[in-house]
Structures are given as C-alpha cells and as structure tokens.
C-alpha cells in the first residue's frame, strides 16, 4: 500500500522547466517579449507562462503552450516595463514551477534589420534605373526589343477606324493603389491620343470610382494633347459598378451591343478575365490584353490575339510614347534583371559546389 502511494507521488511530481530566459523580440513595433526554456524531461500536458512586472507581487498568466514547445511570444506586454517570467510544467497533479527568468523590457524598434538585403537591392536597382534615365536624357541611343502586342495597337486602331466601330478599353478591376492600374492608365493615355487623332469612338467603363476619375482626366488630357479637345465628351469614360460580376456583365453587354472592333483588357483582373476575353473573342473583336496577375495570364493568352505578359505591361506606356526618358527606365529594368540572373546562376553553382551551408548563408 505504502509502495504504490509513493510510486503515484513520484509520477505526479515532475521536474520543472529550466533555463527560462526572456528577451525583447527584435525588429518589431514593441509590446512583445520572447520567452524560451528547456523542457521538463518528464511527461507533461503543457506549459503555462506567467509574467510579473518589476515591483509587482502577482504573477499573471499570459499564455499556454503544448508539451512539445519550448518558446512563447508574450504579445501583450506593455512597452518600457521591466518584467520577468516563470514557466509552469502542467501535469495531472501539481504543476512544477521554474525559477524566474531575468528581467526583460519590450521596446519598439526604428529599423527592421531583416529588410537590409531588400534595402540594398532597392538602392542597386534604383541606381541602375536612374543611371539609364540620365543616359537617355543625354541622348544615348537605347535599343528596345519589339513587343508584338504593342505593335498591334496602331493596326487595331486603324481597323476600328476603317470599320467605323468603337474601341473598348477596360482598365482592370483593381483600385488606383494597384501599380498595374496605374500602368493601365498610362497606356490608356497613349491609346486615347491615337483614338482622338483617328476620330475613333472610345468606350472606357470603370469599376472603381477613383480609377474612373483619373481615367476621365487622362482621356480628356490626351484629347487635348492630340489637338481634339472638342471630340472629348464626358460619356467616353464612365463608372459602372463596384460589384465584380455585375461589372463583367455590363462589359459583356457593351461587347455584344456595341460590337467594338478592338478590346483592350489591360490592368488587374480576377475570375472575370475569361468571361470578358471569351465574350470579346466571340464578338469577333481584335483583343489586346495585359496583366501581371499570373493566374489570369493563361486565360488571356488563350482567348486574346495579343497578351502583354507581366513586365511588358509596365513597359507599354514608354514603348507607345517612345519617350527616351521612359525608355531609359526600361533599360534599367533589363540590367536589374540581368543582375538577378547572374546572382541566381552564381548562387546555384555555389549551392551545388558546397551544398546546404552556402544556401543558409545566402
């Protein structure tokens, strides 16, 4: 009887966690302390983490972890208050309490050192782009490869003019804070200059009210620059709805009713991309699409005559306007890409030569 009671007691009393330490979480906005410990060698059901501020009496429970974990982030600690921690190993019987950690204090940081590589590459890419911008300003001749989708713009506009049919320009479904939308608005400016010159009707339906406002001003300015301010009217650019599929239905309706000779689907698209592109293909329009949404690219490539893939979308306004300064930026992009390519090749070779340790360094 005595022996079995003693055995039960031995089983219930477990070794407490040891080596409890508390440090401020680095590179964060404060209010967080990382608590680590060495797990109890005995079977436990989990750990309870307690915090005591300096000068305080009570130990407050700040969280629990499972039995296999040996760290916890206290995300509710006040900044600037020194606190220490204890960890309790939980069992079916009495919990085993660790010794308290040293004091730690949480402070918000002014720089996230994890982003140093990103900052370095930002400066390198920025330098390359600005260097080629300056070269272009000085009149250096810059070669640019042909982009079939953009070469087709003139042809598509000419076709619409000959057929006496309008051109439909869909500037994507995203908001103005999406860079793809800004790139699309830049292309719209160039397209509008040409439609103004040829006297081709232009239709620009919008999903986002801010994009609508910017697109309207852009088209108005393009008509003025083309010397045809009289040809601009408020109804060229209009707002439809901010509902995704209601917008898709409205644009499909325009494609079916107005029978545009050319459809531009340029910007950010989601599930509606194929609905728009297929309706356009069925209506017999020449279609030029462009997006940086990787998941929508296959749909556009399948259903459209020309597709601007990824970066071509961002190069389009420079390509169409042929402004040397803008072309300089594209050259900078190309050299940045070449740099990335070299780094990938060097990294791969080093990884193959030295295996995993080099990968960890990179």
């Amino acid at each position: 009887m005595f022996a079995s009671t003693l055995a039960a007691l031995v089983l219930l009393v477990v070794t407490p966690p040891t080596g409890v330490s508390a440090v401020d979480r680095p590179n964060d906005g404060g209010r967080a302390i990382i608590v680590t410990w060495t797990r109890s060698p005995d079977p436990v059901t989990g750990y309870r983490i307690l915090r005591q501020p300096e000068g305080g009496e009570a130990w407050d429970t700040v969280g629990f972890t499972g039995p296999r974990l040996a760290s916890f982030v206290d995300e509710g600690t006040p900044d600037g208050v020194r606190s220490r921690y204890r960890v309790l190993a939980l069992t079916d019987g009495e919990p085993a309490e660790s010794e308290p950690s040293g004091y730690a204090v949480s402070t918000p940081q002014w720089f996230n050192t994890n982003y140093i590589p990103a900052l370095v590459f930002t400066f390198v890419f920025g330098f390359l782009i600005i260097f080629f911008l300056r070269q272009a300003k000085r009149g250096a001749k810059l070669f640019m490869r042909r982009i079939a989708g953009l070469d087709a713009v003139e042809e598509a506009l000419g076709r619409a003019t000959e057929m006496g049919r309008p051109i439909l320009y869909v500037p994507g479904l995203s908001s103005i804070d999406d860079v793809a939308t800004i790139a699309s608005i830049n292309i719209l400016g160039e397209v509008a200059k040409k439609t103004a010159k040829f006297g081709t009707p232009l239709i620009v339906p919008n999903r986002d009210p801010i994009v609508y406002t910017v697109a309207r001003e852009t088209v108005k300015q393009s008509y003025t620059e083309a010397g045809r301010p009289d040809a601009f009217h408020q109804d060229i650019v209009f707002f439809v709805t901010d509902q995704q599929f209601a917008y898709a239905a409205a644009v499909d309706g325009i494609m079916t009713r107005e029978k545009p000779a050319t459809n531009f689907l340029i910007g950010m698209f989601w599930a509606e991309s194929l609905i728009l592109a297929e309706t356009g293909a069925m209506s017999g329009a020449v279609q030029i699409a462009g997006t940086d949404a990787l998941s929508q690219l296959p749909f556009f490539i399948t259903a459209c005559d020309y597709t601007l893939i990824g970066e071509e979308l961002y190069a389009a306004s420079a390509y169409l306007s042929r402004e040397p300064v803008l072309l300089g930026a594209i050259k900078g992009q190309d050299y940045s890409k070449a740099l990335i390519l070299v780094l990938i090749i060097v990294g791969t070779l080093l990884a193959v030569a030295f295996r995993a340790p080099v990968l960890e360094l990179l």
Binding site: G189, Q221, F239, A271, E311
Partner: protein, 222 residues
C-alpha cells in the same frame, strides 16, 4: 502649381510609405495606416459621388438619344434610386432599423435581403458562366495550330491524364511526371515572370516618385 503640388505630395507620401515598410515603430506605422485607410477612404467617398453622377449621366444620355436597348437604362436608374432610398432610410444593419420600415408582414425588402437575394444569385450566375467559357477557351487553345499551341496541348493532356486515378494503374510514372511539369517548368516560368513584374512595379513607382511618369495626374503634363 497645379502640377507641382500633387507631385510634391506624391514624393513625400511615397518616400514615407517606403520608409514605413522598413520602420516597425508604432508612431510611423500608425501615420502610415492613416494614409492607407482613412485618407484613401475619404477620397473614395468623394469619388463615389462622382461615380454615381457618372452612372446617371451615362444612362440619361442613352435615354435622351434613344440608344440601343435604352429602356434598360430606366431599370438601372430606378434600381439605383430604390436601393439608395432603402439603404439610406431603412438602415444597413437588420438589427438597427432606420426610419423607413423594411418589413411588410413576412415580406422583407431590407437592403441586406435585397443584396442576398438579388445581387448574390446574379453574381453567382455570371460566375457559373465561367465553366462554359473555360470549355470554349480550352477548345480554342487545344487546336495544334503552331509549335507553342502543340506544346500547350501536350502539357495539358499529360496534366489531365495525371489527375485521373486510373492512370496510376495503367501508366504508373505519368502522375509523377505531371506533378513535375507543375512543380518545375511551370514554377520556373512563373518565377521568371514574377521577377519581371516586381522590377516593373519598382521602376514604375520610381518614375512616379521622380515625376517622370505623370499619367496618374490626368494626362501627360510632361
């Protein structure tokens, strides 16, 4: 001044937003949040007024000119006013009714009811069309007109076969090969495009910050 002021605001706010990405301090992050959420929301509210004005003008012009299918414009205008009145006067929270009663007996015409029973099924119907469009697009894509189309056809054929459970018994290595196509060549191409897109976004942002690209200002202005 009309051009200089927006350019200056973009330069200052743009550099601040980039810096806020690197600085986790709550003072910087809270100001960044104000720009991203509050300021953008205020601008969006003003733009929405312009948007509603645009819809009305567009449809009134269609009615006036008796353009193709102009009677539908009446439906749009009437629907816009009805939902605006119900939403504004009937309230948007079903638990906090507004001054307009939105329930007659068992019949509710609350704005949430209208949205759930009209807008949602209509949107789902449009989305459902995608299945048919996929079939027609696939038919177009799978005609082996040139080398690229043939390659696409072959890859798609292997992937489709790889997804069929019976293939694992009939041609055991095919599902793994299909998986490899997705994991290696497909991922490599996607990452390549991803690099180009990232650099394109970076260059465009830089051009906007430096005032070289001014399309967003409402036209050239260069």
């Amino acid at each position: 001044m009309k051009r200089q002021l927006p350019l200056l605001i973009v330069l200052v706010v743009g550099i601040f937003a980039a810096a806020a990405f690197l600085i986790p301090h709550p003072i910087v992050r809270s100001v960044d949040e104000v720009f991203r959420n509050d300021v953008l929301r205020i601008i969006a509210a003003f733009s929405l007024v312009l948007g509603v004005g645009s819809i009305l003008r567009h449809h009134f012009i269609k009615i006036k000119r008796k353009a193709a299918h102009w009677p539908f414009s009446y439906i749009t205008i009437v629907a816009l006013f009805i939902s605006a009145i119900i939403g504004l006067l009937g309230g948007i929270d079903p638990n906090r009714p507004g001054i307009l009663p939105t329930q007659v007996g068992g019949f509710s015409f609350h704005i949430q009811t209208l949205f759930s029973n009209i807008m949602v099924p209509l949107a789902a119907t449009m989305f459902a069309l995608l299945a048919f469009f996929m079939a027609s697009a696939a038919y177009r894509a799978f005609r082996a007109r040139n080398f690229e189309a043939t390659l696409l056809l072959a890859a798609a054929f292997i992937l489709m076969l790889g997804a069929v459970p019976l293939t694992r018994i009939v041609i055991p290595p095919l599902p793994d090969f299909a998986e490899w196509i997705l994991a290696v060549p497909n991922t490599a191409a996607k990452r390549g495009i991803g690099f180009g897109v990232s650099l394109g976004i970076f260059a465009t942002s830089l051009k906007i910050l430096l005032g070289i690209e001014r399309g967003w200002l409402g036209g050239g202005g260069s």
